[in-house]
């Protein structure tokens, strides 16, 4: 049994925020994209593959959150390694989790709306596929910012390394 010190507990909170909020955004987004895709497939069976692509796009936010959470758990001593005995580093871990979590929440929801709408546009006009992908990829940037900042916080906040 790992002895949990306060810094580790804070890092665990950060991991929870990271995967929780990013997963929430990703789930909502994927739900919307899938709802649109199901409607499209009901009318046109050929839309199945394209519907899957648009639904899968919204998975990335959850992956970013999951990665940050795993890193936090590994480097905070929860999954082996040295526990964080410094409260300040624990707070930095919360910051890292919040960065990727909230960015993933907004990005996932935005991407879900665009992806759901793109599926509707493609089922009406097949030529919209490439443009739909481009528009759907745009809200990904916010999640990437959150992910990068989370990594930077962990690197320069003495969590990684």
């Amino acid at each position: 049994m790992v002895e949990i010190v306060l810094g580790t507990a804070l890092a665990a909170l950060g991991a929870g925020i990271a995967v929780g909020f990013a997963g929430l955004g990703s789930g909502l987004g994927q739900g919307m994209a899938a709802a649109g895709s199901v409607g499209a497939v009901a009318e046109d069976g050929d839309m199945f593959a394209r519907g899957i692509i648009f639904s899968a796009l919204c998975e990335t936010q959850a992956i970013y959150g999951f990665l940050i959470a795993i890193l936090l758990l590994v480097f905070s001593g929860l999954l082996g390694g040295k526990p964080i005995d410094n409260i300040a580093i624990g707070i930095v871990a919360i910051g890292a989790g919040a960065a990727v979590g909230f960015a993933g929440l907004g990005s996932g929801m935005g991407q879900g709306i665009v992806a759901g709408s793109s599926v509707g546009a493609i089922v009406e006009n097949e030529d919209m596929f490439a443009r739909g992908i481009i528009f759907s990829a745009l809200p990904e940037t916010q999640a990437i910012y959150g992910f990068l900042i989370a990594i930077l916080l962990m690197v320069f906040g003495n969590i990684l390394g």
Partner: protein
């Protein structure tokens, strides 16, 4: 840094563990607020995504300009029919019914399809739109009984759709108009039709039934839209309200062309509208001619639309120029509404009005193609 925080906490006389609990609770509250605020727009959009994809799939299959001109160029009704047989949306219907009926059944199924898939907040309005089929079937049945059609001919007139179809099909062997109305007792149309019997017996025409049904339908349609609460209900309110105004206007213009006065016209008009409120409708009904109606419309969006048809009407063209102008305006207006709310009711309105326009145009072309040598340019003019 850590010492600074620890000093700060100790200066506040708070136990570090209590501080952490506060911090966590504060974070959870912030998170909850963020989730609630961020989810609001999602909750508005989410119910529409599935229906939007379904209607956009069908919208993509609406006939484009090239296909319409190919249909227009068909040499006769057989060519027209075989063209439609090549289209997946129309082929199953044409395999089962004659052309006009197949178009009507297809439209009836479209109303039914839309009322099945739309979200609850706008469902009432689309349910009422779907009752158009019941009203058309009742009118057809009454006409068949008045004219004395055989049971088979009567049955062929009915569209196999709508909530009343089974009841109406059972009434095919009724002996008279009054028997049909008695058979509809207990349905929502029973009392309305029964109330129109004295007038029918007095005038010897089915017009009182037809007008009573139309009036009831428009009243129900207008009241199916709740007070606009959000952009979707607002759009549907405009769509339905404009449709009611259009129908009221068509009725008034037709009545004035026939020389009917206020007393003759007012029982058939619903005394409310969207842009044309009660006082305005009264004003229009009191006009003594078609020109009077158009000039009374000054200040409304309809005045401009009807100016050009008025000069064509004055040059000897039929009353249908006004109806075509109003239909075209309604189709354009619906299209603009459909662009206003792309992640809401917009695409549904856009598809439905596009399909109505398509069916209307196909019926016009079908009628024209039955007549040998009917000029294409003339058909083009008649299209919405």
């Amino acid at each position: 840094m850590a010492e600074d925080i620890a000093t700060l906490i100790s200066q506040l006389n708070i136990d570090p563990q209590v501080f952490m609990v506060f911090l966590i609770v504060a974070l959870m509250i912030v998170g909850a607020v963020v989730v609630v605020v961020a989810s609001r727009p999602i909750l508005d959009v989410y119910p529409y995504l599935n229906p939007i994809a379904k209607v956009r799939a069908r919208k993509g299959r609406l006939l484009d300009d090239k296909q319409m001109s190919e249909i227009l160029e068909s040499n006769n009704i057989e060519e027209f029919s075989s063209y439609l047989r090549g289209l997946p949306d129309y082929a199953p219907y044409l395999a089962e019914y004659p052309i006009e009926k197949s178009l009507d059944v297809h439209m009836a199924d479209t109303y039914k399809f839309i009322s099945t898939i739309v979200p609850n907040e706008v469902k009432d309005s689309f349910d009422v739109l779907a009752t158009k089929v019941d009203i058309a079937n009742i009118k057809a049945l009454l006409t068949a009984k008045e004219v004395g059609y055989s049971n088979e001919e009567t049955s062929n007139l009915l569209l196999p759709s709508g909530s009343l179809y089974n009841d109406l099909d059972r009434l095919v062997d009724a002996n008279s108009v009054n028997d049909v109305i008695a058979g509809l007792d207990g349905t929502e149309y029973g009392d309305i039709l029964a109330d129109a019997i004295p007038k029918y017996e007095e005038e010897g025409s089915l017009l009182p039934f037809s007008n009573a049904l139309d009036k009831y339908y428009l009243h129900k349609l207008l009241h199916s839209t709740k007070v606009p609460g959000n952009d979707n209900t607002k759009a549907i309110y405009s769509y339905i309200g404009t449709q009611v105004d259009m129908d009221n206007l068509k009725l008034i213009i037709r009545a004035k062309a026939d020389g009917l006065d206020y007393d003759a016209l007012s029982p058939y008009l619903i005394s409310e509208g969207y842009q044309l409120r009660e006082w305005k409708l009264k004003d229009l009904m009191e006009s003594d001619s078609v020109e009077g109606v158009i000039s009374s419309l000054d200040g409304t969006k309809y005045a401009e639309i009807l100016q050009e048809p008025l000069s064509r009407y004055n040059n000897g063209e039929s009353i249908s120029v006004f109806e075509n102008a109003l239909d075209s305006y309604f189709a354009d207006y619906s299209h603009s509404l459909s662009l206003e709310k792309p992640l809401g009711v917009g695409p549904i309105i856009g598809f439905l009005s596009g399909k109505e326009r398509e069916i209307k145009n196909l019926k016009i072309i079908a009628r024209a193609k039955r007549e040998e040598g009917f000029p294409e340019a003339k058909i083009q003019e008649m299209l919405v």
